[in-house]
Subunit: 333 residues, 6 copies
Amino acid sequence: MAQFDMPLDQLEAYAPDVAEPADLDEFWTSTVAEARALGGAPTLERVETGLTQVVVDDVTFPGFGGHPIKGWLVRPAHHDVDRDGPLPGVVELLGYGGGRGLPHERLEWAAAGFAHLVMDTRGQGSHWGGGGSTPDPVGRGASVSGFMTAGIEDPHDHFYRRFYTDGVRAVDALRQVAGVDPARVAVTGASQGGGGTVAVAALTALTGTGVSAAMPDVPFLAHFRRAVQITDSHPYGEITKYLSVHRHPAAEETVWRTLSYLDGVNLARRATAPALFSVALMDTTCPPSTVYAAFNAWGGDTRRIDVYPYNDHEGGQAYRFPPQLAWLREHLG
Amino acid sequence: MAQFDMPLDQLEAYAPDVAEPADLDEFWTSTVAEARALGGAPTLERVETGLTQVVVDDVTFPGFGGHPIKGWLVRPAHHDVDRDGPLPGVVELLGYGGGRGLPHERLEWAAAGFAHLVMDTRGQGSHWGGGGSTPDPVGRGASVSGFMTAGIEDPHDHFYRRFYTDGVRAVDALRQVAGVDPARVAVTGASQGGGGTVAVAALTALTGTGVSAAMPDVPFLAHFRRAVQITDSHPYGEITKYLSVHRHPAAEETVWRTLSYLDGVNLARRATAPALFSVALMDTTCPPSTVYAAFNAWGGDTRRIDVYPYNDHEGGQAYRFPPQLAWLREHLG
Amino acid sequence: MAQFDMPLDQLEAYAPDVAEPADLDEFWTSTVAEARALGGAPTLERVETGLTQVVVDDVTFPGFGGHPIKGWLVRPAHHDVDRDGPLPGVVELLGYGGGRGLPHERLEWAAAGFAHLVMDTRGQGSHWGGGGSTPDPVGRGASVSGFMTAGIEDPHDHFYRRFYTDGVRAVDALRQVAGVDPARVAVTGASQGGGGTVAVAALTALTGTGVSAAMPDVPFLAHFRRAVQITDSHPYGEITKYLSVHRHPAAEETVWRTLSYLDGVNLARRATAPALFSVALMDTTCPPSTVYAAFNAWGGDTRRIDVYPYNDHEGGQAYRFPPQLAWLREHLG
Amino acid sequence: MAQFDMPLDQLEAYAPDVAEPADLDEFWTSTVAEARALGGAPTLERVETGLTQVVVDDVTFPGFGGHPIKGWLVRPAHHDVDRDGPLPGVVELLGYGGGRGLPHERLEWAAAGFAHLVMDTRGQGSHWGGGGSTPDPVGRGASVSGFMTAGIEDPHDHFYRRFYTDGVRAVDALRQVAGVDPARVAVTGASQGGGGTVAVAALTALTGTGVSAAMPDVPFLAHFRRAVQITDSHPYGEITKYLSVHRHPAAEETVWRTLSYLDGVNLARRATAPALFSVALMDTTCPPSTVYAAFNAWGGDTRRIDVYPYNDHEGGQAYRFPPQLAWLREHLG
Amino acid sequence: MAQFDMPLDQLEAYAPDVAEPADLDEFWTSTVAEARALGGAPTLERVETGLTQVVVDDVTFPGFGGHPIKGWLVRPAHHDVDRDGPLPGVVELLGYGGGRGLPHERLEWAAAGFAHLVMDTRGQGSHWGGGGSTPDPVGRGASVSGFMTAGIEDPHDHFYRRFYTDGVRAVDALRQVAGVDPARVAVTGASQGGGGTVAVAALTALTGTGVSAAMPDVPFLAHFRRAVQITDSHPYGEITKYLSVHRHPAAEETVWRTLSYLDGVNLARRATAPALFSVALMDTTCPPSTVYAAFNAWGGDTRRIDVYPYNDHEGGQAYRFPPQLAWLREHLG
Amino acid sequence: MAQFDMPLDQLEAYAPDVAEPADLDEFWTSTVAEARALGGAPTLERVETGLTQVVVDDVTFPGFGGHPIKGWLVRPAHHDVDRDGPLPGVVELLGYGGGRGLPHERLEWAAAGFAHLVMDTRGQGSHWGGGGSTPDPVGRGASVSGFMTAGIEDPHDHFYRRFYTDGVRAVDALRQVAGVDPARVAVTGASQGGGGTVAVAALTALTGTGVSAAMPDVPFLAHFRRAVQITDSHPYGEITKYLSVHRHPAAEETVWRTLSYLDGVNLARRATAPALFSVALMDTTCPPSTVYAAFNAWGGDTRRIDVYPYNDHEGGQAYRFPPQLAWLREHLG
């Protein structure tokens, strides 16, 4: 069935309780604090791209565990900070399996006058696009190929603990770049990048730094239990695959416990920044009810969701940038 | 089989004869002449995009039959023609089923200092991307859904006669834009846009106007007979579908006659501009032997082909822009 | 799920309201009147088929816009009109993508003593069967390959306005053939031909000519909005595809407005002839709820629906002819 | 690859040797003799179909083992044997999984003035079409679902021994029907019906009764060993499936021995009637090399093959009847 | 949808009425009585396997109609009946399309100290695994490839009447083997083997012999009507296929009447032995509601069902043996 | 095409050269030496399985980097070492994505009187079967989900360096178990386990310890370059996927360099033990030419290959054990 999830009016009201561990705040505040305590500053190396209207730097910044995380920082070439003032910033997190690619792949934000930091995803970047270049030096248990069950044995070991923390540190890093206005930094991304956006908004709020705005598109990584019941697509299906092999109650308990620390519904409650979501009603990868579960839990007062009734997981794609730009200019001041 | 076509050394030497109609030159010179005789100049309407580093115009120019064809003209915002001289231009033709989309979708060429005209494809633009907005006012016979057999009854009626002519007229139009250097205009595109690039290079050469360079990626629309024998993927498969229904010798004769006027191998022989091709060795949509057939027939002395051994029809994607930019700067002067 | 739509008892009661444009009657009466005003009579040319029990004529009649529409007229060879009286007639409309094929493909109605006019579908006839030979001289906007969105911008331009009108004119044409009883002409067809049957019954009723009976099998082209929500199969999926690319509210509004003029639910309300429908409960192409929506809206008092609980879109196939023949003889007098 | 088998010129010359058992002639002559020795005559029961131009009889005739085999006998209604002479006859065998269906499903031959006997296939008739009604009272060993390996343990037990013999007896039966000219009876069929046609032509030749003409379309059941190497489609794939489970040399030896008695290449050598074959070059079910292997082995001097270069297993479909009718009239006298 | 059937709490309460023929008990008691009346004892032939810890016998025992049914009897090599007492027994029935395979394929039960009789399935054993070797000498009507509609015309002729009876006779046979304790024999199997397990428990209860325990895993062959509505997977889909071809009410009535004699829901009501079921909540082959329908109808007081929430039809696989062994030791005494 | 690779006679002669790094021997001798230098002995913990004919120990032994690797050691329960002498041993490596599962899953070797060590695969064991429990503590670069490109940047970092070394250490471990005859230890496995078998045979030969026999079934991990050209199935397809994203010559060079250290063709040359291979001619996962490439390179004099002409990657399955047992008894003495 094309619109296989709830009808729109039910989605709009869908605000389920998701099991929340008692020590969720402590888990994340200590996680972020440990990463920040390792210190380190972003390094920038100018890249020769042949482009004349933007300048690109190859960025390396310390992420979870202080591990070096790569990114591209793309900025307008004809912006004079002294004359025009500091630039507002946008941190972008990427979809599942992709990497930062080549420097010229994502030019809109810089072309619109933003300092745009594209964060490479550790260990990913070989499934689509131009490729990634950030290793993940942490091993994993007996897991399903992919990232959903890498470290599923314990929330401290799970891949997405590292990914979320990298995202927080990317915001920290962009704020440290000369010429960027640290008071005007937003975070965005689609799918995994959308799930990361929710997490970064939450964890920066939880640790007092915050972000100015969050723009998650068709976010992944929310309401895992429903996702697994309603879709068998990847990557949520990796959880199903894992549990279909490890068929004992202890494995099931472990899986749901670990994922409860990572669930976007629990994290969204802790976010305070203005948020612009988007959702696609025929999305079999990140079903709309899981997106609404996070959206309706959002802790901030200012939130909006744009609906694409006829799209699968590709969602709004290029249709997202114009409303995001307008909305962001309104909210960044 | 992954590399299902010939091995690379055979591909490099593959230069088949393709049936060529005796009046091919006349067919195309009169086609282009008729379109040009209808006159008309491009109109430009500035678009408010929120972008600060580039400016975008909504372009309408007269194509085949004088029909209005849409395009986006994207130029660097901080280029002063009086100060910096006229801009070199790039006309881009699009892949099958796509449209010009939204103004911000393709920013690389403008960000590199080019006047970039993205030509909408008549009647297409509803299969992927941000959509098209150019109708094709011409009807069609009993045909397969799609464009390969629209007008298959006669070369004068075929869709690709109009598409190729639109491409020639797009080059004509860009040359008429104030601030664009008419002596430095290149044409490029992937798949259907690559087939169109071959055709535009040929037809402008044939009619004396020429282009400065041609950059077809994984070009479609070449060596139809082999394509149909070696692949059943769409869109080449539309020919097969047509002939599988119209099972009489007259239909077959008509089909091959019509397509011989449109075949990229015949057209490539007439092209004279420097050319930078690309090909993917696992391309089941535009099999590599059909690409090499066009490349090896190329009429110009300067030609190069970049090979992607492990890609299907997506080919080089973002990996194309850096070598294209470097090569184009070298050849545009 | 095999029976993926509503259970049968809910289907039987399913009579949804579908948005109906205020000027629907005017739209169609003027459409049909314009076509009829263009005049023209069918021409018949005897075809040598080698068959001895039936005679076949190659028919050309004026359809929408006066465009020439082809058909086969198949009649019993051993029927003497003077002796046996005029023949009752059956107009048959065809399924999506097919054409009238070869003269001998559909012999049942003639073998049962009817004058059987198989109407070719303009622009179709290259996807299955023996092929079509009727062009559609009207162009189209940026559309999805196929016919659902050809002319979606305006109901006046939509492909199905022409197809429905062709069907009305086919009935007009058959009534003009010498030896056919104009007072005993029925219309039938499956899938697209079933949707056309509903439309022809409605539009002939609306314009005062009527038909004697209508026999739509697994009809397509009804209750578009539900179809798009409940199935992603083609051809309804072409609407979804279109809206998944043209992701702006204006496009959505345009699409639903245009389709409301063509919706079989709205048209069925205007039909008055006796009707024999059929429906398949596992039909993922034309879901049963969309069929029942048209059936339950039928304007005539005499209506019956035969149910095939275990079939997908193939429905009753050869099982339809015997009950149709018996029912038709009963209703044609 | 679309044309995945040999190129046409190689196909035309392809005449492989296929292992032939020494006692092949004896096996089949005794098989047919035993069936004929059981005697029995066809019974005809007139069916009320509502058709006026043809008459239909429900036929039961004795097949292999004297088992009752069903068929429809369709004849022109307006043919007077006394006035017009006896009718020529056509026996039609059916494709895999189908049954004789409903009486009105196949009217062309009767509409062209032939007595047309459609033979039901024992044990089949539940996969497509209108259904069959002839049981196969013989059991089977551990076999793959379907018919290719039913009785694979011994050629005497194999399903196709019974099917071929039924076909011979169908010809015998039609010749016994009053008003049918026993000297002018042809046999035809597509796919399994084509394989059966080859066999019936061979076995009637071998046993001295013969047929007047044979028209196998895209015949199945020839050159099993190559079929299994070149395609994994069903039904040939049932052999592969069987051997992929029964992985011991004895099973392999048994399989190939049994099939050698049934192989259309061996049987075609024994056929003497004029033959009109057809073949489709993109046929993945009955690959063209297996069809040509039978065609090139044909024992009769008069043979022709019509080639459909762009079709898969559907082959010529409705395009077959006109040339078959013309050719048959030429050869039946 | 991953968990496409009812939620677990509804499943646990799901106890539908299934049409039950009035003469069900008589049908089965006479069926079993007839088979037993034919007499015959199992024969055992020692097999040389090279194994040192178990001994294997090639068993032949009389099944339905007295037909010889094959099996492997695997027993611990180091068990001395005189010293250690008679062995408890386990009869295992197999999944659809499989055969008993090779002697060493299933060693757990013997390795745990049981006499393990693996019953070959007549006519099956060529779809997966090591193959079967038991023919089914009974023919069939016009049926779908496979076993669901073989003999669908009458419950006396249906394949599963024979299969169930074979299972009863396998229990009878194992009880006759010297050294096996006839008072401690259980029956088990997955999928078709699970459906057979339900039937054997019922029919032995009905005929007074009983079994000591029944362990059906993801059982097939229960609640056919719902199965056909909720899934289109094979083998239940064979019923759908049959009815989609035989589209007349008499066929439908016949099908449901025949299947009502074989339905696991009706049979489960007659079972009295302790039962350990398992079910998989994502099982699209044997949907969980059909499994619960049988489980909740179970006639015995002692029943348990183990739930695998994340598995498709593979269910618990190797996770079944440990709980089954523990449970069986508890219930066999 | 079913038998899509070379015909058998060409396969038997297929002995291609594969690029071999100059320091291959040094790379592996130092790798193994480092692992052995870390020392450590296997620990055994008796597992309560309820089985009476075999005993099972949960084994932990030091693998690459001294990392703890799990395994099951299954031995005959009724073997008295003092009385019967030490047991011969078999180390089994597992297929891609699987884990050691549950203790009772593989009983044949123990039931035949062997000490059978099933080695868990680090980081795997969540794709099929009963699951694994051995983590891989080493991280990875930007890689494709799975294991083929984990550590592709450098042969020292590649996953299969660790897996092969674990296999060598598993042999070392089994030899240390009391009651096992260190002079009679064989290694076996299918697919990935077959590739590992080749490697273990080679690396033990290279480092002087050797194995008594090697039995690789349908081995993976050989002749990577051809594999990638001839199949797009996983896991070889992971290499293709990686190179289709990382589209620069340096990536390609790195990939092939790293894989040259792991290629089974290069390793097979260094193996000296008697070998019993098996191959399936329709194997699209591990194409037969890649298997023969390793087989024909085998360094030992005694080698045999069993051919399964009709199987895909499942190969011989249960048909392997009987010939392996016979062959192994012959070669282990």
